[in-house]
Each structure stands twice: as structure tokens, then as C-alpha cells.
């Protein structure tokens, strides 16, 4: 559906304007330094194990006749993410590099496979066009799997994420029932928004839909950081938000906010690949499983304890 | 062979015919004044002669070279671009509103075309331009910009600009109409001086005394026709046609005729 719309738009604009009246520009600037793209040369410090891994990967790939040369050791693995989505993906103050729980996992994964990781911050609204057009290999950024099962080819879920309600610390809101007559906000196109708006038609989401109707107003906003600043300023009374993001805001602004006990919904995070790209998914899953099995994932997630991430992790827990 | 020759020219703007089958010849060294009321077609005739306007019918020749001729259907056909470019070098035009190039200095207004159109040497052209400015009483104004000059000075620069192209003849389109009355004298003086030097000139003007004084021949136009043509003392002092008399009567009170 989205693809069709994009096609239509592109076709229209193409026919109307851009092909012919634009031909003369653009082709120069060959010495243009491409935008800020942080690439991690994982291949450079490949150890023996890594090389072995790569060899295995290459072997496995040679048996499948794939369209894309996804199997190459030394290939670039481009992760699309929202750089305003801590703690999953954000800009590190010290190094200036993009980091986050998901990106750290991706770094380790690329190191093991001998791939070069490219962290590509994207406009989250354009994520489908980005992944379909091949500019990124996957969306790995606290990406909600629940409810989008059919839209992408998914890894196994690795984080259990609840949607919660965050309020100002001194707010009189204690339960979901208290939200009646209040002004509530969520990030546009976020899973919290989906949880409040999505009507599957089978009554399964009626509770949340009713809850939303009890609000005085419900709005969406460009990003959660804005939402929290707005709530702090009194514009909104409550924010529907992924728990990890909420924990991050609570930690960064001590004593300003709190989270209601009742979650809005529970959902899971997984890594999204372009629909049909099972080959790449399988390679990523394989290495991720190894990382979970040998405790590397636990090591990485320990660095995000303040956001409650270790409790939310489900990969390698009971398998 | 006449220096300038326009034959049987007709010109219409939509339904309005502004020139009816007009012919004018100008000989080397001759000064011709064209007079007539507004809308008489005299400016259109000048614009057709200088090819700023295209003719519907009629032919146009300079020094016997054809700039435009009638085809079999009797409609005007112009010569090739290369021929026209050469022929345009034979004449210069001085506008009512000067039309100096405001972004060029006075000197560059004069030298730009000789250098870049006629491909003459810069030094030679600049020397000639300075001499021309001196002759026009504009010495020391070389580096000024047009807007720093008075109207009369600007018009003298415009005349100098036309002359620096070394044309065989000059057209003037009401050269004093945009000037304050006290400034017209300096322009008329310059034109008189050119007449004494035997410059061939066609002047569209409202200055009757000047026309009578400087012109060898006067053409009176009205309604797109040449009503009367002849020596200035005949046309201006003793007009035969009623319309000429009526037109000149309007100037009688100004005393300029008998000046």
C-alpha cells in the first residue's frame, strides 16, 4: 500500500517536473563529503574466531542462490535507526558516535561476522521507503514487532517492551482511570500511538480505544524528547510511551516524572528486514543467538540497567 | 544613390494603421526635420527606419544596400541577420529618454559597442571617446555614472555614444522632449554644430524654430500621412496645407517661430 503511494507520487513528480527540468544540476560535487555517517571498521580487528565465522557464513551462503550478495564477509551492514530514540539509538556525548543498546549489539554482531557496520540515522517516517529501496539493510531500533508481524521479515523478538503512561512527578494522575479529561500525547507513528489508535476491528484493542476516548485531547508529536519537554512545561498531562524511553527520561531528569503502575499494553521488539530477506535475517539471527548464548548480550545490556533494559530482555533467557 | 531610402512603408498596430504608404529619401549631408502632432506616425516612421519596429509593407535601403524589400505578395521581407548587422552600423539613434546604460561609466557607455561590436582596439576607441566627450563639453565626466549628470549632459553623452560608432547618419527621436526647457538649448547647439559639419541627420522634433533653422528639408506628418514636405521656409513659414497651418498655429503664441 505504502509502496503504491510512493510509486504514484514518484511517477507524478517525475512526469511533471524533475526529469527534464532538473537534468543539468546535481551531477557535480564529486568531492562532496557524504553526510555524517559513522562507519565502524569491524573487519579491521577481526580475530581468529571472527574469520572462522565469516568463513562459515560464506559457506552457508554459497548453497543458497540469493539475489543479493548478502553473504560476503566484509560486506557493509547498514542499520537504519532513529537517533533521537535513546537508549536504543542516540548520539553519544563523549565520542560523538551513534550508540545505544541496539547499535552496540549490531557492532558486536558485525565484528563477529566480519562485516562493516554503517549506522544510518533516518527519518523514522520514511523507514519503509528506506528499507524497501535498499538504502538500509534493517531497522534495529526498539522496533515493535507486535502488530506489524506481516509488514517485514523479522528476527525473533529480543526485548519485551510495555507501553506505559508517564506523568509529571507531582501530577494527581495515579491510574489509567485518572486520565479521563486529561491531555495526552505520544510520538507520531510510534507503537504507543498504534496502541491507542489502532482498531483491528475484532474488539481486541477496544480497552485502549475507550481509554483514548476518555482523554480531553490526544495528540501526536515529532519525538518523545519534545513530548517530555512539553509535559514539563504543562502542555500535556500524560505521555503514552515505550517503557525504555520513559525510563531514560526518568533517569535523565531525576524527580521530574514518574510512571503509572498499569501498562497500556505489552509488546515485543525485534529486528525488521525488508520483507522476503530471510537470508540476511537468518545470518543475523544466528550470530545474535551465539551472542546471547555466550553471555555477550547480557554484558551489553548490563550497561543499560538504569533504563530497566536487563529486565526487558527476552533473548537467551529461557531458551 | 541616396544614403537612406524608405519606400511605400505601411504599418498597422492591430486595426490602427499608423503609416500609410510613406516614402522618404535622405541624401548625404542632408538634415531632415519631421514635425507633426502626437500620433501622427512620425516616431513610428523613425522606429521603422532604425528597425526597432518591423514594417508590414515597404522597403528600406541604406547606401543602396537592401535591409528590407517587398516580396511577391507585397509584404516586407528583411535581409539576413548578418546583412542587417552590417547595415545597422551605418546609422545611430538618439532617444528621447537617452537610454544610457546606468551601470556603465560615461566613458564605457561610449566605448562598449565600438570595442565589442565593431571589434576596434580599446586604446584607439577610448582616445576617440575622450575626444568626443571634450567636443560635447563633457571633459572630466568620463568616470561619472549617468545618474550623476543632468538631463542635458546625459543626452549629450547619448549623442557622443552614437557618434563614437562613426555612423554615416544619425536619427534623433524628439531629443529635447524629456528635458527641462532651460536644458534644450545645449542639445540644439550640439545638433547645429553637427549640421555645420555636414552630418546627415533625421530629426523628429517639436522645436519649430530649431527645425526651420537647422533643417534643409521639413516633413509634416499627420494621421500617418506625409501632408507637406519642402524647404523649411516654405513648410514652416508659409504652409500651403490647411492641416499644417492648424498645427503650426498652436506654436505661434510661443514666439519660437520668429525667434
Amino acid at each position: 500500500m505504502k509502496k503504491t503511494i510512493a510509486m504514484l507520487l514518484a511517477g507524478m513528480m517525475l512526469a511533471g517536473a524533475l526529469t527534464a527540468c532538473g537534468g543539468s544540476s546535481g551531477s557535480s560535487a564529486s568531492n562532496a563529503e557524504p553526510a555524517k555517517e559513522e562507519t565502524t571498521e569491524a573487519a579491521a580487528d577481526t580475530d581468529a574466531a571472527g574469520t572462522a565465522e565469516a568463513a562459515v557464513a560464506a559457506d552457508a551462503a554459497s548453497t543458497t542462490e540469493a539475489a543479493a550478495p548478502a553473504e560476503d564477509a566484509g560486506r557493509t551492514f547498514t542499520v537504519g535507526f532513529d537517533a533521537e530514540y535513546p537508549p536504543y539509538g542516540f548520539k553519544d556525548e563523549e565520542s560523538g558516535d551513534y550508540t545505544g543498546f541496539d547499535l552496540e549489539l549490531a557492532e558486536e554482531l558485525c565484528k563477529r561476522r566480519g562485516w562493516t557496520l554503517k549506522k544510518q540515522p533516518i527519518d523514522w517516517d520514511s523507514k519503509d521507503m528506506e528499507i524497501n529501496s535498499g538504502t538500509i539493510d534493517c531497522l534495529w531500533n526498539g522496533m515493535t514487532y507486535t502488530g506489524r508481524e506481516e509488514d517485514y521479515t523479522w528476527s525473533e523478538p529480543y526485548v519485551d517492551n510495555s507501553i506505559v503512561i508517564a506523568v509529571n512527578a507531582d501530577s494527581d494522575i495515579q491510574t489509567k482511570a485518572d486520565l479521563a479529561g486529561k491531555n495526552v500525547v505520544a510520538q507520531a507513528a510510534s507503537s504507543a500511538d498504534t496502541a491507542l489508535v489502532n482498531d483491528p476491528g475484532d474488539g481486541s484493542n477496544d480497552e485502549n480505544l475507550k481509554l483514548r476516548e476518555s482523554f480531553a485531547s490526544y495528540e501526536t508529536i515529532k519525538d518523545y524528547n519534545d513530548a517530555f519537554m512539553n509535559m514539563n512545561a504543562g502542555v500535556y498531562d500524560a505521555i503514552a510511551v515505550d517503557i525504555g524511553v520513559a525510563q531514560y527520561q526518568l533517569a535523565a531528569n531525576e524527580g521530574k516524572y514518574r510512571i503509572l503502575d498499569e501498562p497500556l499494553s505489552t509488546e515485543q521488539y525485534a529486528i525488521a528486514f525488508a520483507k522476503g530477506n530471510t537470508e540476511l535475517r537468518d545470518m543475523v539471527q544466528e550470530t545474535l543467538n551465539e551472542m546471547a548464548a555466550d553471555g555477550t548480550v547480557d554484558e551489553i545490556v548490563a550497561g543499560y540497567a538504569e533504563y530497566n533494559l536487563p529486565e526487558m530482555l527476552i533473548i537467551g533467557k529461557d531458551k | 544613390m541616396s544614403l537612406f531610402e524608405i519606400n511605400n512603408v505601411s504599418k498597422s498596430f492591430g486595426d490602427l494603421t499608423v503609416l500609410h504608404d510613406i516614402s522618404v529619401k535622405v541624401e548625404e549631408g542632408e538634415v531632415v526635420a519631421i514635425i507633426g502632432p502626437s500620433g501622427s506616425g512620425k516616431s513610428t516612421l523613425l522606429r521603422c527606419a532604425t528597425m526597432l519596429e518591423t514594417m508590414d509593407k515597404g522597403s528600406l535601403l541604406y547606401l543602396g544596400e537592401t535591409a528590407a524589400h517587398n516580396n511577391a505578395e507585397g509584404n516586407t521581407v528583411y535581409a539576413s541577420a548578418a546583412d542587417l548587422r552590417r547595415i545597422k552600423g551605418y546609422f545611430g539613434l538618439v532617444f528621447q529618454n537617452f537610454n544610457l546604460f546606468p551601470h556603465f561609466s560615461v566613458l564605457r557607455n561610449l566605448t562598449e559597442a565600438p570595442i565589442h561590436v565593431q571589434k576596434r582596439g580599446r586604446e584607439e576607441v577610448e582616445a576617440e571617446a575622450r575626444e568626443m566627450l571634450r567636443k560635447m563639453g563633457l571633459e572630466g565626466k568620463e568616470d561619472n555614472y549617468p545618474q550623476q549628470l543632468s538631463g542635458g549632459q546625459q543626452q549629450r553623452v547619448a549623442i557622443a555614444r552614437a557618434l563614437t560608432m562613426n555612423p554615416r547618419m544619425l536619427f534623433f527621436d524628439e531629443p529635447t522632449s524629456a528635458l527641462d526647457p532651460e536644458l534644450t538649448g545645449e542639445i540644439l547647439k550640439v545638433i547645429r554644430q553637427l549640421a555645420q559639419e555636414k552630418m546627415t541627420m533625421v530629426i523628429v522634433t517639436h522645436e519649430m524654430a530649431f527645425a526651420r533653422d537647422v533643417a534643409d528639408r521639413v516633413i509634416f506628418m499627420d494621421g500617418g500621412y506625409i501632408v507637406e514636405e519642402g524647404r523649411p521656409e516654405d513648410v514652416i513659414t508659409n504652409p500651403r496645407e490647411e492641416r499644417t497651418k492648424q498645427f503650426l498655429a498652436r506654436f505661434a503664441g510661443q514666439g519660437s517661430i520668429d525667434e
Binding site: A6, M7, L9, A10, G11, M13, G16, L18, A20, C21, G22, S24, S25, G26, A29, A32, E33, P34, A35, K36, E37, T78, A83, E84, Y85, P86, F90, K91, D92, E93, G96, Q120, P121, I122, D123, S126, M129, E130, S133, G134, T135, D223, Y224, N225, F228, Y248, A252 | T50, L52, K88, G89, N97, N99, L100, F101, P102, H103, E112, V117, Y145
Partner: protein
């Protein structure tokens, strides 16, 4: 969180913003002249075509145009996009869009040059090209400085739209730092950068205008 740390992080993005800014001007100003000439062409099909182009470029959001330019090769021609394409797509999108605006400004500027200037040039024997470049163009430049200044200042701010195609410039970076710090300060810092830069742009254009004030 240090203020200097914020400035340091944002300053990297400022380079990208400047890069988009200068290259967009470099391409869109000459392209704008071509657009203006095509728009005024006596050859009707070209004239109409240009009118439609300009109408679309001015009538649809720049962000949409950037997205269309960037994704078009894939969605229309099925070409897989490479990472390097982002910068070219951004420059093409910005340049064409701004050329449309500049084109209309230039057209008004060219048409504002009195017809007497053309006639004087014609009588003196200048070719059409000479008339345009020697006589009309310099006078047009003077006329269009104020509206062009407006567009240039808008361009400085519009560079933030490059992120629609994931080309990270200063404002996006500032938002990322804002998210990292959970603070609004980085956005003010970015605002300060824009303001100072636009102040310089306005000053430079003002000087240019003054330099051309010797004629009217």
C-alpha cells in the same frame, strides 16, 4: 552536560549545513537564470513546460521533492540506491527547488529592465547574448538582491529538511543531542548558529547592494 560539549557536537553538523547551503547556491543561481530564460522563451512549448515545472516546484513541499528525488531511482527505475546517493539527491532536490524560486525572481528582474535599454543595445549592434550579459544581467542583479537575500536566508533554514532523506545536518544533529541530553539547550544553540550565519549572509548581501548603488 557542558555547554561547550553541545557546541562541539553541533558544530560538526554546521559544516554539513554550510555544504548544502553553498552547493545549492552554486547550482541553483545559474539554473535559476536558465529557468527564467526558458520561462520567458518565445518558443511556446518550452515556455509552457517551464511554467508547469515552476508551478510544481513552488506548489509542493520541498521535503516531498527531496524524498521523490532520493527514492525515484528505486521506485521508478528499480535501481537499488547506494549510500552516497543521499548527498547528490539532497543537492539536486535543493538546487532544483531553489532554482524555481530564483527563476521567478530573475524573470521579474529581467522584465523590470526598461525596454529602452534593449533598444539602445540593439541600435548599437549588440547581439542578443551581449545585450543580456552586458546590459540586462547587471541591472537585473541589482534589482533582485533584496528578494534573493530573502530566499538565501530561507535556504539557510531550509537545509534542515535534508534529514527527510536521512542526510544529517545541523538541526537534526541538534535534535539528536537534545534527545541525548534530554534538554532543549542544543536546539537554542542550533538557533544561535542559524542566526549568526544569517546575520553574516544579510550583512554580505547588504554590502553587495551598497556596492551596486552607484547606478539606479
Amino acid at each position: 552536560m557542558g555547554f561547550m560539549s553541545i557546541v562541539q557536537q553541533i558544530i560538526g553538523g554546521f559544516g554539513t549545513t554550510l555544504f548544502i547551503f553553498f552547493f545549492t547556491l552554486l547550482f541553483s543561481l545559474p539554473l535559476g537564470i536558465l529557468f527564467a530564460l526558458a520561462r520567458m522563451s518565445k518558443f511556446k512549448p518550452l515556455n509552457w513546460f517551464m511554467q508547469v515545472c515552476i508551478s510544481i516546484l513552488r506548489g509542493t513541499p520541498l521535503m516531498l521533492q527531496l524524498i521523490v528525488v532520493f527514492f525515484m531511482p528505486f521506485y521508478v527505475f528499480g535501481i537499488k540506491l547506494s549510500a552516497g546517493w543521499r548527498v547528490y539527491a539532497a543537492l539536486i532536490g535543493f538546487s532544483i527547488n531553489y532554482a524555481a524560486y530564483f527563476g521567478e525572481i530573475f524573470r521579474a528582474g529581467i522584465e523590470g529592465v526598461p525596454v529602452g535599454q534593449h533598444e539602445a543595445a540593439e541600435v548599437l549592434g549588440f547581439t542578443r547574448a551581449q545585450t543580456f550579459w552586458k546590459i540586462v544581467f547587471p541591472q537585473m542583479v541589482k534589482r533582485v538582491i533584496p528578494p534573493v537575500t530573502n530566499e538565501v536566508i530561507t535556504l539557510v533554514k531550509d537545509t534542515s529538511m535534508a534529514f527527510a532523506i536521512a542526510y544529517v545536518e545541523m538541526f537534526t544533529l541538534a535534535k539528536q543531542v537534545a534527545a541525548q541530553q534530554s534538554s532543549i539547550t542544543p536546539l537554542f544553540v542550533a538557533g544561535l548558529f542559524y542566526y549568526v550565519f544569517n546575520f553574516v549572509v544579510a550583512w554580505a548581501m547588504g554590502r553587495l547592494e551598497k556596492r551596486l548603488s552607484y547606478f539606479e
